[in-house]
């Protein structure tokens, strides 16, 4: 379960923010999940709950889904990726390293791999809430 490593990153970053903001307890952690990386919220939540420290014992984990928007740098086309069009191995590669998209996905109009992942790449820590 490689989601464990991402959960660990989220909690490490959240704990560092909590310390800086002198929070005694974190009550909510909001996480943005880009569709491209295709992380299962359930698996991530499971990992978060398994490894969380006392600081997060009553924390609610909120997940915001972010649609994948790709934009071709050559012809300007913007498009939303439909992951159903990809085979299992490709989905898995992009799950581990979203930049693999540049190997397997092409602009639908001009077939260039030179597109920007304008949104929806991976995991972001949106914000945390807590009590001082």
């Amino acid at each position: 379960m490689h989601e464990w490593a991402l959960a660990d990153a989220i909690l490490t970053a959240a704990a560092q923010i909590a310390e800086k903001e002198q929070l005694r307890e974190v009550t909510q952690v909001t996480i943005r999940m880009g569709e491209l990386q295709d992380v299962e919220p359930k698996i991530l939540k499971f990992a978060l709950n398994e490894i969380k420290s006392n600081l997060f014992k009553n924390a609610k984990f909120r997940f915001l889904k972010v649609k994948t928007e790709l934009k071709c740098r050559v012809c300007g086309t913007s498009w939303q990726l439909k992951k159903e069009s990809l085979d299992v191995t490709t989905v898995e590669a992009i799950h581990f390293v979203p930049e693999a998209a540049h190997t397997f996905i092409k602009c639908p109009k001009c077939i260039s791999p030179d597109f920007e992942i304008a949104s929806g790449r991976g995991i972001w820590l949106d914000n945390i809430q807590g009590v001082k």
């Binding site: 490593a5 660990d8 490490t12 590669a93 581990f96 930049e99």
Partner: protein, 244 residues
């Protein structure tokens, strides 16, 4: 919004004793061959070793190691496959032999992702194979793994050394640790003996040794035993024993 991946990098590398980046600035001087042979040599000396290929768009170490495509195992992250008893990681595991057309920002993103999710475990040495140039990867290595030690590779050619000097100038200014310089593919004939050695000393750097151009290198690619008896293998054994 915060990128949480950066915060966990130190933790992922906490059980790695030393991190050595084989670097140059110049392409084609033998970085990949030196990095791979260094990893193999250290492993044979009994150390726990990892090898991380950061030349994402032009990887070579998987060919030198003869690493096979494999399904990656996961345990609290991605486990680097064991290749010749070395923990090995390369973008090739994700993109295969297809082209990976990546801009600098993509390369940086992929590096951060792999640093955040790869579980290297306990290592005595993590060897990093660097890309040429002075771009996103070396800037990120300096930024994200600042205890990295640099082993610089050059050839005897003016074209290589002038480029190497620029990278060295940058590393020195930033007070990065430089182990020293290796002069690779030396043709006994063409250069006044020891000129790179003298120039290295002038830069205040340790000259680690020279590696002769060895025509058997080409047939040793993918073959550990043969690699270790090339000029590269021999000089690196010496360097490992004397300088690491």
């Amino acid at each position: 919004m915060i990128d949480p991946r950066v915060n966990v990098i130190d933790k992922r590398l906490v059980n790695v004793k030393r991190i050595i980046a084989v670097s140059s600035g110049k392409g084609g001087v033998g970085k990949s061959l030196v990095a791979t042979t260094l990893a193999l040599t250290l492993k044979n000396e009994g150390y726990k070793v990892g090898l991380f290929d950061l030349d994402f768009t032009s990887p070579s170490t998987h060919i030198i190691l003869n690493a096979q495509v494999t399904v990656l195992q996961e345990d609290k992250g991605i486990l680097p496959p064991l290749v010749k008893e070395i923990k090995y990681m390369s973008l090739v595991y994700f993109v295969g032999e297809n082209p990976a057309p990546l801009r600098g920002a993509d390369v940086s993103n992929a590096l951060i992702e792999l640093l955040a999710v790869t579980q290297w475990g306990n290592l005595d040495f993590l060897i990093i194979d660097m890309p040429p140039g002075i771009g996103d990867i070396i800037l990120d290595v300096l930024r994200l793994i600042n205890r990295t030690e640099f082993l610089i590779v050059t050839t005897s050619s003016l074209l290589a050394f002038e480029t190497v000097k620029k990278q060295v100038a940058l590393l020195c200014e930033l007070k990065a640790r430089i182990i020293g310089i290796v002069e690779n593919m030396k043709q006994t004939a063409n250069n006044p003996k020891n000129s790179i050695e003298i120039c290295s000393r002038k830069l205040g750097l340790r000259f680690l040794g020279e590696v002769l151009f060895d025509p058997t290198v080409e047939t040793a690619i993918g073959d550990e035993a043969k690699l270790l008896i090339t000029s590269v293998g021999q000089t690196l054994k010496h360097i490992v024993e004397k300088n690491l």
